[in-house]
Symmetry: C2
Amino acid sequence: MSLIVQKYGGTSVADAGRIMNVARRIVGTKMSGNDVVVVVSAMGDTTDDLLKLAHQITPKPSTRELDVLLSTGEMVSSTLLAMALKTMGYEAISLSGLQAGIKTTNNFTRALILDIDPQRILAELQAGKIVIVAGFQGVTEQMDITTLGRGGSDTTAVALAARLGADSCVRYTDTEGIYTADPRIVPDATQLKELTYEEMLELSVYGSKVVHPRAIELAEYYNMPLRVASSFTNNPGTLIHGGEKLEVRNKVTAISHDMNVAKVTILGIPDTPGIAAAVFVPLADAGISVDTIVQNASINNMADLTFTITEDDLEKATAIVNQVASKLNAREVLTDTHIGKVSVIGSSMLNGPGYASTFFNSLADANINIELISTSEIRITVIVKEDKVLDAVRVLHSAFRLNEA
Amino acid sequence: MSLIVQKYGGTSVADAGRIMNVARRIVGTKMSGNDVVVVVSAMGDTTDDLLKLAHQITPKPSTRELDVLLSTGEMVSSTLLAMALKTMGYEAISLSGLQAGIKTTNNFTRALILDIDPQRILAELQAGKIVIVAGFQGVTEQMDITTLGRGGSDTTAVALAARLGADSCVRYTDTEGIYTADPRIVPDATQLKELTYEEMLELSVYGSKVVHPRAIELAEYYNMPLRVASSFTNNPGTLIHGGEKLEVRNKVTAISHDMNVAKVTILGIPDTPGIAAAVFVPLADAGISVDTIVQNASINNMADLTFTITEDDLEKATAIVNQVASKLNAREVLTDTHIGKVSVIGSSMLNGPGYASTFFNSLADANINIELISTSEIRITVIVKEDKVLDAVRVLHSAFRLNEA
C-alpha cells in the first residue's frame, strides 16, 4: 500500500460544490488502494477576509492573535472536506496543525517547521481513515498557534510527505502543471513532463506562482519528488524531482516573468567603503528581499547603486533608503515601477554553448532594451520596461524553440 | 486584587465597533485594579453561518468535524478582542478552549466539562495580561475539539469562575438584568436586584433567555454568585446567588412566559401498565425534553395522555409518537402549537398563604382558560392558548403587585 500526500489550494475548495469535487478525487486515490493524507488551504478569499476583519480592529494586529485568527480558515475547509468524505461513506478525520503534530518556531505569521510528530496521523491512517490536515499552521512548544507565512500550505504538504516517507506528494492546482512559459502569453507554450528542483526553484523565484519556492527548497532538501497537476482533470501533470533520473541535458527548460518588480536607484553616493552594507542591512532587517543589484563604476569618486525589489515592498523600502541616502550624502533617490523581469531557466545553461548569445541577440533583434542583468548557474534574468515584458517572453520562447519541448 | 470573570455574548461582539466597546469596558475593570478573565461567544450570526456551510456539504455532518468547525467562531471573536485590547495599550492574550485547559467528555456537540487545568490562564494573569477565553469549547483527552452545546459560553464562564475561585462572575447581555416579567410585554415590570439560583433556574427553564439553565445549575453547585448586567450601561444589574444573604421571604419574584411550546395528545389508549414508559423512553432516547405531562383518568379502560415539548422538537416527536401510538393501539394523535406557557416563580411560594388562589382567581377573572397545570416547590406553570399568554403575564404581574417589587 502506498502513502500519498495531496495538497489542494484555496480555489479548489472555494465552495461546497468544489469541496465535493475534491472529495471525489480523494476517494479515487483511496479506492486505488492508497493511504491518503490531504493538506488543504482556506476556502477562496477566507484568509483575506479574516485579515480585513483584523484590520477593522487595528492597523497593526498582534501577530500572535493574527495567527490564531488566520488558522481558523484552514480549520473550516479541512472539517468541511472531512464531512464531505464521511457523507460519501469514507472514514475521514480533520486535524489542525496542532493535532497533526506540526511543531514550529514561535515567529508568528512566518513560523518555520521544526519537526512533525506523526503519531496521531499514523494512528488515524492505521484505523483506515483519510486524514485531512489544515495547511499553513503549526504550534509552538507553548501550544500557541502559528502560521507558516507565504507558501505555508505547500510547505506543510512537502514537510508531511517527507516526514511520513510518502511515496508521492501531489500539489493540485488550477493549471495542468508547469509550462515552458505562461500559456496565456505564449499560446504554443508546452507542458513539461518533469524538471529538477533547481529549475523549479528558479522558475518560482523568478515569477511562476504555481509552487512556492520555500516548498521546493524543502522538497529538494528531503529529495521528496513533488508532482504538480490539475484538480479538474486526470492528467499526470509535471514531476519535480532530483534530476538523477532525468536525461542528461543542457538545454533551456522554461521562461518565467514577473511584473511585480520595482527598481530603486541611489545616484551620486560619495564613494566610501560600506555603501552596500549601509543600504542592504536595514532593508534586510525590515524583511525586504532585494533582488538584482548593480553598483556602477565610480566616476569622480561618486557611485550609483541600483537594485530591484517587489513592488509591494516599495513604500517601506523607499522610506528606509531615503534615510540611508541622506546619511551617505547621496544626491538623489529614484524609483521605477514600470519594469518587469524575464528569466530563462535551464540546467547547466551557462556552461552550455551559445545560450547567452541566443538570449541577447534575440532580444536585440526585437528592439527590447535591457536595463539590468543577473545570472545564476541555471538562469539568465533581465529587467526590461514593463511594456516589453510579454514581447520578451514570446521572443525568447521562440528563440529557444520551447514550443518543441 | 480581585479576580473577575466576565462573559460577553454574540450580540455584544457582533462587529468591530462593538468589540472596541467591549474592550473599553474590560479596560475599565482592569484599571480598577482587578485581574480579568473574559469569556466570549462567536460574533453575531457566525455559528449559524458555519452550520449553514456544513449543511451545504451534508444534512448530517459528522459531529466531530462540526465541533472543530463551530469552535472557529469563538476563536475569531476572542482573537479580535485581544487585538483590540493590545491596540489600546493593554497586555492581552486569547486562549482557545484547549489552551485554556478546558477538558471535556467526548460527546461532540454537547460535551460536558470534566475539569479545567488553570495553569496557562494563571500564568498569563500573573504576567499581567487580560485573558480572553473562547467560550463554548473544550478538548477531549485525545486532544479533539468539542463544543458544549446550548448555553455553552455561559457554562464556560461559570466553570472558569468556580475553578479559578473568582471573586465575581458577570454575564453581560443586552438587557439591564432580570425583570419581574418581560418589560416589552409588561411596561411596569421592575428589575430585580437579586434572586436565588433556584428562582433563576425556574425562570430560565420556563422562558427567560437571559442565562442558560445549565450555567445556573453549575453556579448553584459551586455556589458561584453570578451577576447579569447590561454591556451598554454601567448599572449593577441583577445578582443571582445562594440566598443565604437574602432577606427571609416567601413571595412571588417574577413571571416568565414561553411561546415555543407544542402540545401532543394521544387519545384512546387501551389502558395497560407501561404506557408512560412506552411513550417517554423513546422520546428521551431521541434527546427530546418533555415538560408538563397529564394522563387523564381512564374511562372504559381507555386513557388519554397529554404532554408538552418545545415546538422545535415537534416534527421529530410526532414521528416517534405516531409509531408508539400505533403499537399501543391508540385511537388518535393530536398536536397543537397554538399554546404558550406562563409561570410564576417565587421562593417558598407553594407553602405561602394565598398564592395559588391569587393565581387562579386572577386568571379566571380575566377569562383566561387554563389547559394544563404543573407546579414545583417555587413555581406554578399553566398552559394557555397562545393568544392569551401576554394577557396572562400582565394579569399575574398586576395581581402579585410585581410593579412594586
